[in-house]
């Protein structure tokens, strides 16, 4: 099995053999080679003997990535390289127009722009509050506010598109002179 993954921004190529009858195999991470024997325990737990040493693992996955706990450390493992690029491309298609989306689950405290406003890159667009801490969201690019999908007081989820911005290229398409 070949995998290309990252923890934070550190990419690693993983290559593994097949599991043998004793649930053991070899793995290489970059140029480091390990012998691994797996004892599955439950949906979220497994035990690995790595080069003869025992490590208890807890695992779970959500849309942030795959969470792996081992030896008191929790790491978020995410796809990297080609897979990540593919995901990025499909995301752009899915998301359509750019805009401001919620960085974490939060409550909308203030909306600082109106539909039709011209905004600059970095301009303050909205204020959200997560767990009593307020944050200001800024425009990722210049453009015109095309739509506002939330109201003050709404609870938004991580990744929810809050304010759509139509960039100059989108405007050109709408321009009748250019048609």
């Amino acid at each position: 099995m070949h995998l290309k993954v990252k923890i934070a921004e550190n990419e690693t190529r993983i290559h593994t053999g097949d599991l043998d009858d004793s649930m053991a195999t070899w793995m290489t991470l970059g140029d480091r080679r390990y012998h691994v024997r797996i004892t599955p325990i439950s949906h979220h737990r497994m035990n690995l003997e790595i080069d003869g040493r025992n490590h208890a693992f807890s695992v779970a996955a959500n849309r942030d990535g795959s969470w792996v706990w081992v030896d008191g450390r929790t790491r978020l493992v995410r796809p990297a390289g080609d897979v990540a690029a593919l995901v990025e491309a499909s995301t752009t298609m899915r998301r359509g127009p750019r805009g401001v989306s919620a960085p974490t689950p939060a409550t909308v405290v203030q909306i600082l722009v109106s539909k039709g406003d011209l905004v600059e890159k970095g301009q303050e667009m909205a204020v959200v509050s997560a767990m009593k801490m307020e944050s200001t969201l800024t425009a990722p690019a210049a453009g015109r506010v095309a739509a506002i999908h939330c109201n003050v007081g709404d609870v938004v989820s991580a990744g929810d598109m809050m304010i759509e911005i139509a960039g100059p290229e989108d405007e050109t398409l709408d321009d009748p002179d250019n048609a």
């Binding site: 550190n10 993983i14 599991l19 480091r32 807890s58 008191g72 499909s90 667009m125 969201l137 800024t138």
Partner: protein, 512 residues
Amino acid sequence: MFSKILIANRGEIAVRIMRTAKEMGIGTVAVYSDADRKALHVLSADEAVYIGPSNPLESYLDADKIIDAAKVTKAQAIHPGYGFLSENAQFAEKTAANGLTFIGPKGDVMARLGDKIEARKLAQQSGVPTVPGRIVAETDEKELFEFCEQAGYPVLIKAAAGGGGKGMRVVRKPDELLSAARQASNEALGAFGNGAIFIEKYLERPRHVEIQVLADHHGNVVHLFERECSIQRRHQKIIEEAPCPVMDPELRERMGRAAVDLVRDAGYENAGTVEFLLDEDRNFYFLEVNTRLQVEHPITEAITGLDLVKLQLEIASGAKLPFKQKDLTLRGHAFECRIYAENPEENFMPAPGKIMFSQHPEGPGVRMDSGVYAGFTVPVQYDPILAKLVTSAQDRNAAIDRMIRALKETVVLGAGTSLEYMADVLNSQEFRDGNTHTGFLDEHFPGWTASHEGDDLALIGFAARRLLEARGLQTFQPEESPTDEPLPWASLDAGELAEQAGYTGAIDAFEG
């Protein structure tokens, strides 16, 4: 004693109060908002009353709804916990006016101690030291120098009007004084239209040391020694310990007496905390009074063997304190780590989410007060505290080792936490040496990131799990398979990966 109480709070503190109530045979009533329908405090209570929308103003901060809930359920007393309405004097008065007992001080006493200027005056009247300071005209050279000679350098000069850091300057030598005063005054004039300046003694590297007090309705007041809470990020405590590592019996006696005198003179009742700053020369200065149970009360319980909530309930029901000051002793050392849903690599930004899996530490000297469970989605509307981990042992070093061990046993998957950060802080030589002060984290751990040590292990775990899935999940016992949740890795389909990438992209647009 009461037969039923209502807990006007949520999360770990509500659960903790209910535990003691159950031990005492007292019925428990929870209140909850929309976001907390499945919260642990609701599941832990005998009865639960819905009090409104997730916005705290329309639920946990709505005094009338909470008092109505107490009346409907025939609860006799209200425990406010910490935060929310716990330091709201009108709520305390309203509770009493409705024939219910407020588990805490009387409203008028709470109001006086809650006002910082009024509390400072009360402290001075009781002979408790406050940070020397006064308003001075910047032109009054004589008074400026007089003050500095009395208080000693360094001093802090700031605008008398407004708040925040406007015009704030630290003066370390007499020849810097006049120019600093002039500049501060000019800035104050520009910002507030008022050039008056406030000069006070500047405390370098102070420790935050607080005294726990208990006062009954019969004039008996005791203190339960001190806690040190200097380890703060964003001016909020995350690691506390008891006792303070530089305390000695003589200083403890003086600080304890100061706290007892202050609350006695103020007519205080029930549990409270008097906060002080302790400077490098072991002078202490009054900071404020917290008129409620503190988040970090379990470390006092650990070194005294007492149950503070039980004592609160006994005091509120009119009982006398069951001990005198001379009966109290402290034993061993205790630490508390607050486990928040936050990201220490991004300035401790809240990191809520659904807890997918969790495992609590166990073993000798370990206490976990948790407000969440696996499967619970941490609401975004409230304080991000998930749980408090407390360890105690015979001495400070053993309690540190135990805490590091317990932090490393703790698993929380689905929300970010500071578990690893706190383990690094506890394991640092400076911390082990007890060289703590309120700027400790800013000084020693700015821009902390998790070490890459152990990344390989996590990657091996990731790959091993993929191998198991490639084999099909027959490797798992059927009864271990979840019925209502997506499989851990299999749930990462293209759509969710896209959302994940969308989430990552959005971080670029996020400031603060």
